[in-house]
């Protein structure tokens, strides 16, 4: 009799376990689509507050490193400045006024939290919509590309970095101009994969990989990394292992890029798609 009572008890506990586990898995798989992850918006402000206190403390300890990085950042920014301007020359008499032709606007932000040891990593910045950050802006750090802003609250924003299973960017070989897609297969946080490079392209270990500028996230020619290993993916394409130039375990300051012509480009693309659709229907 006692055993039977014990068995029923066990059974109810297990049933209760199944209910809780069901709730947990439902929460997990509803949030997997990151754009719908509303919880981040509500939790970013208070969790972000705790993380920024921690980051303040950690940064005090590594001030020396940060100063070095900042000096490098300033030097690099000076070199990059002309590239933020894109002057279109139509003829000798066309207007060349660089202030009207700024294409990219940079905003600096401090990293308050970052992970590099998971399958889907995120970087939290201490700047939100109040500081001019909007979703879909590109993010770079002194060495190269970091990722794309995904979610923004008042004071914080969350970046999907290269180290995320869903990340994809269009990049090219600096020397030959062949382009492909940069993805991250998990595991080592220092190495990403470059796919879709045709076998006819000349590739050598140590070649530089840079952004193409096809998207509105990053300007063309931002450093991504160096080719570390050349593998053949199939008969037509290579799989290149790329040593990323940004160390995601040491991120402290980043630049968020705004493409001022983003709306113009997007609406032009949308117009083109509409026209294509109209022609298709006829």
């Amino acid at each position: 009799m006692k055993n039977i009572v014990e068995l029923i008890k066990r059974f109810y506990v297990f049933l209760f376990y199944l209910v809780l586990q069901g709730i947990a898995l439902a929460m997990l798989f509803n949030n997997t689509n990151y754009h719908k992850a509303e919880f981040i918006r509500t939790s970013t402000d208070w969790v972000g507050g705790i993380y920024s206190k921690r980051a303040n403390f950690a940064q005090y300890i590594k001030l020396n490193d940060i100063n070095d990085e900042l000096a490098l950042e300033i030097a690099e920014l000076r070199n990059e400045r002309p590239e933020s301007f894109e002057v279109q020359r139509f003829g000798i008499d066309s207007l060349i006024d660089s202030t009207l032709n700024q294409r990219y606007y940079y905003r600096q932000a401090k990293v308050v939290n970052a992970t590099a040891n998971k399958e889907k990593n995120y970087v939290t910045l201490d700047r939100g919509w109040e500081g001019g950050i909007q979703p879909d802006m590109g993010v770079i750090a002194n060495g190269g590309i970091v990722g794309v802003v995904r979610s923004v609250s008042q004071h914080y924003s969350i970046v999907m970095p290269v180290l995320h299973a869903d990340f994809k960017a269009s990049v090219k070989l600096k020397k030959s101009g062949y382009y492909g897609s940069l993805i991250w297969g998990g595991g080592n946080p220092g190495v990403a994969d470059l796919i879709d490079i045709p076998v006819t392209a000349p590739v050598a270990v140590g070649d530089s990989i840079v952004t193409t500028g096809f998207s509105t996230y990053y300007p063309a020619g931002i450093m991504v990394g160096l080719v570390e290993e050349v593998q053949q993916a199939n008969t037509d394409t290579y799989l290149l292992k790329v040593r990323l130039s940004v160390d995601f375990r040491k991120l402290s300051y980043v630049m968020v890029i705004q493409d001022i012509r983003k709306n113009e480009l997007d609406s032009l693309n949308a117009q083109m798609e509409q026209m294509d659709a109209a022609t298709g229907n006829r």
Partner: protein, 174 residues
């Protein structure tokens, strides 16, 4: 009773913060070793805690952890699983005369051999569940297995060392 509730709540919050702000930042060997010490709060629950209550406490501990580390549900799911496992392991490892109801699973009370067995089984099961749920595939199986085993060893070591530091043998009713 009330004192126990407060002590356990404080312990859970403290360990989740330690996990999020200190231990979670450890990247040994490119992230191969990744200890999750916050489960110590669940392993410290008294023996007489009913199984359903262990499940509820695990659920909320996991939820709190998830607020700090990413997709909500991941740690909830792993913790609920751990909450199912803890009472079973306790029954499995119980001495012939049963547990003293006022006892709690600590190294000082139960001895180092018993504790390491108990903590290792629980930690290994929790880490296995967590890491495989996180990647959701069985490729890189051996890498994952090494990842799980090394991380579990690190977690158990931190928990045992932590107990020697925090609870000295004299204050045995901690």
């Amino acid at each position: 009773m009330l004192q126990q509730v407060i002590a356990n709540t404080v312990r859970i919050i403290f360990l989740v913060l330690i996990q999020a702000l200190v231990v979670g930042k450890i990247h040994l060997f490119d992230g191969l070793i990744l200890p999750y010490v916050y489960i110590f709060a669940l392993l410290m629950l008294p023996f007489q805690t009913p199984a359903w209550l262990v499940l509820i406490i695990s659920f909320f501990t996991g939820w709190l952890m998830d607020y700090f580390t990413g997709p909500v549900g991941l740690h909830v799911s792993a913790c609920v699983f751990l909450g199912l496992v803890i009472p079973l392991v306790n029954t499995f490892l119980s001495p012939r005369e049963g547990y003293d109801t006022s006892q709690r699973p600590t190294v000082q009370r139960m001895g180092i051999t018993w504790y390491v067995t108990y903590a290792s089984i629980c930690t290994f099961l929790h880490h296995t569940f967590l890491f495989f749920l996180e990647v959701l595939r069985f490729s890189d199986f051996f890498y994952q297995l090494v990842h799980i085993i090394l991380s579990s060893i690190a977690t158990v070591m931190l928990m045992v060392i932590g107990q020697y530091i925090i609870y000295n043998t004299k204050s045995s009713d901690q």
